[in-house]
């Protein structure tokens, strides 16, 4: 497996993540992402017995659940103050269409 991942793939991932990468950054990411994937890829070479179930998270416990109860929400002024722009009631964003 090559050390690098295809630049076209890096460009596509950057586009999906809405990140702009310079030429230099594309080269660097192509190498760094390749190294990460190769490192993790070692796991694929491990032979497992057939009856091992897939493992989806780093925590082994299950069922952290909560009862269906309403607690007070965050005050609107305070939550809207995190937004770049608002009219006091709504978030205001550049037109979508």
């Amino acid at each position: 497996m090559s050390e690098f991942i295809d630049r076209a793939v890096v460009e596509q991932v950057a586009r999906l993540a809405r990140i702009h990468l310079s030429e230099q950054q594309l080269d660097a990411s192509s190498k760094q992402l390749g190294e990460i994937l190769n490192y993790v890829g070692q796991l694929e070479r491990v032979t497992l017995p057939d009856d091992v179930e897939p493992f989806f998270g780093a925590i082994e416990s299950v069922n952290a659940i909560r009862a269906d109860e309403v607690n007070s929400s965050v005050d609107r002024d305070s939550i809207l103050s995190n937004a770049p722009d608002s009219d006091g009631e709504f978030y205001s964003v550049p037109p979508v269409f």
Binding site: A64, I79, S92, V93, V96, F97
Partner: protein, 503 residues
């Protein structure tokens, strides 16, 4: 080349719409009836002032952690059981990544490869036999969180969009069918039956105006042509906001795809899935702008959430809570109460409340046909006009049964009984009080005799017609009897006059 194309086009033009199989699959989003959101304790109450029901979790603030709402899980499992689905013993959460202003986290928490409900089915039929009964297979039903609401500037001056995140994080169950429906009418029947079941088991209010039930339809055509079956490109029609819109848009779309195929011959191999919207004003589907690379959601397991496992005991306990479903009630009303399938459906499709009302009235008055007629006509008319549910209907089942008993025993004639019912509805009176208020008195045998004799004496020409064989003419005398005494029972008057005339 041109002539080859031309002849292919001519051949397509000779194909009739009856050689076409319409193939439809539905995706339905149902808002589950929880008090709080799927992963936080903000309220799900509809109609609150914008952005007053949000918190760090549902707006995706760094460092906040989602925790699953147990009731959402329970309602999802209950729905799955009612829809004959396999229930996952272990289910997990995945992030569906995309950017949109009403999705503050930049991803939606959903379920990708281990949905809470797996394969199931829903049987549909038409009480009037408009189509053959059909089993619609369900692919899956998974839990996910809703997005917020965007309000766009409609002035076309390019003003900013406004975002309300109150709805963000509300629990949705997305139910996906296999492409098993073969007409727009079947799709509508599926939606109607699905909604009925969801309301019967109380997992959602299914209020379409408030967005508690939203549906998308996938449709294409299979056409027998040149000895093989050709499939047209699949179109997804988004955001159908009523069942009528669903039926009309699918009907329109089937025809549009057929016309387009006859013109251009495009098949499923020539074109990717297309998204269209339904324009209700113009009754057409229109092309929607594709989101760039929209299909690439890069699902991956949400590291903030852990798997949920469900035990056999929990599933059995939820199953216990499911009472009889609409299909079982239809059967029950047909078999136990002898109703025709259509009449049973009229009652069952109004919801569980009317089924119980009917059973109580039928049991107490002893005549289920009369109970079904009166409820199907008088009661439903009132409910439709007033927009009320049966639990707010002013006449209690016991009173309705009392009234119908008098109809069954001929103490009250139909027209008079309807007047009594109207009085009971208007003044909330008992049957006896309403009868008294209207001054209805039973007409005794002697008085009935004298009325009939008087009518024959005053109208010898009619009497003669009747004796000459024109039995129908008796109707004119019956009408006049009502004027002499509004309480005279028309059936009894008719019989007595005929008897007097020796017929």
């Amino acid at each position: 080349m041109n002539s080859v194309n031309e002849s292919a086009k001519e051949a397509r033009a000779r194909v009739g719409f009856d050689q076409v199989t319409v193939v439809i699959g539905m995706e339905v989003h149902v808002q589950l009836a929880t008090q709080s959101k799927l992963f936080c304790s903000c309220s799900t109450q509809f109609g609150a002032p914008p952005n007053t029901q949000t918190c760090e979790v549902c707006t995706g603030m760094p460092g906040s952690l989602p925790v699953i709402n147990n009731q959402a899980l329970q309602l999802a499992i209950k729905t799955g059981l009612a829809l004959n689905c396999e229930i996952a013993r272990s289910t997990k959460w995945d992030r569906k990544n995309y950017f949109y202003p009403d999705l503050p986290k930049g991803y939606q928490i959903s379920q990708f490869d281990k949905p809470i409900c797996g394969k199931g089915y829903l049987d549909i039929a038409d009480a009037n036999g408009a189509f053959e009964p059909r089993r619609v297979r369900l692919e899956r039903a998974h839990l996910e969180e809703d997005a917020g609401k965007s309000i766009h500037d409609e002035s076309s001056r390019g003003g900013n969009s406004k975002i309300d995140l109150n709805r963000t994080g509300t629990p949705l169950l997305e139910i996906v069918t296999k492409p098993d429906m073969r007409s727009a009418a079947e799709a509508r029947a599926f939606l109607t039956e699905l909604k009925l079941i969801l309301v019967y088991i109380g997992v959602s209010d299914c209020n379409m105006q408030q967005g508690s039930l939203r549906c998308d339809g996938n449709i294409n055509l299979h056409i027998e042509f040149g000895g093989q079956t050709i499939a047209t490109p699949i179109v997804e029609i988004k955001n159908l906001n009523s069942f009528r819109a669903a039926e009309r848009s699918l009907t329109y779309e089937a025809r549009r795809q057929f016309d387009l195929w006859q013109q251009c011959g495009l098949t499923i191999d020539d074109s990717p899935k297309q998204t269209r919207g339904w324009n209700d004003a113009q009754q057409v589907t229109t092309m929607q702008r594709e989101k760039e690379e929209s299909a690439d959601y890069r699902y991956f397991p949400d590291p903030d959430l852990i798997a949920v496992s469900t035990s056999e005991e929990e599933i059995a306990a939820i199953e216990e809570q499911i009472d009889r479903l609409p299909a079982i009630w239809r059967e029950h009303l047909s078999e136990v109460y002898n109703l025709k399938p259509y009449d049973a459906d009229v009652i069952v499709s109004q919801g569980r409340g009317l089924v119980d009302y009917f059973r109580e009235v039928a049991d107490q008055c002893g005549d289920s046909r009369i109970a079904s007629n009166w409820i199907g006509q008088e009661v439903l008319r009132y409910l439709n006009e007033s927009g009320l549910e049966i639990d707010r209907y002013p006449v209690a089942p016991r009173q309705m049964a009392e009234l119908l008993k008098r109809v069954v025993s001929n103490q009250l004639e139909q027209t008079r009984a309807k007047e009594v019912l109207n009085e009971m509805v208007a003044s909330q009176l008992s049957v006896a009080a309403a009868i008294e208020k209207l001054g209805i008195k039973a007409v005794d045998h002697d008085e009935l005799k004298s009325i009939c004799q008087q009518l024959i004496d005053e109208h010898p020409e009619v009497a003669k017609q009747i004796q000459d064989g024109n039995i129908k003419a008796v109707g004119r005398l019956v009408g006049k009897a009502r004027k002499l005494n509004p309480n005279a029972n028309p059936g009894l008057v008719k019989d007595m006059i005929l008897k007097f005339l020796g017929i």
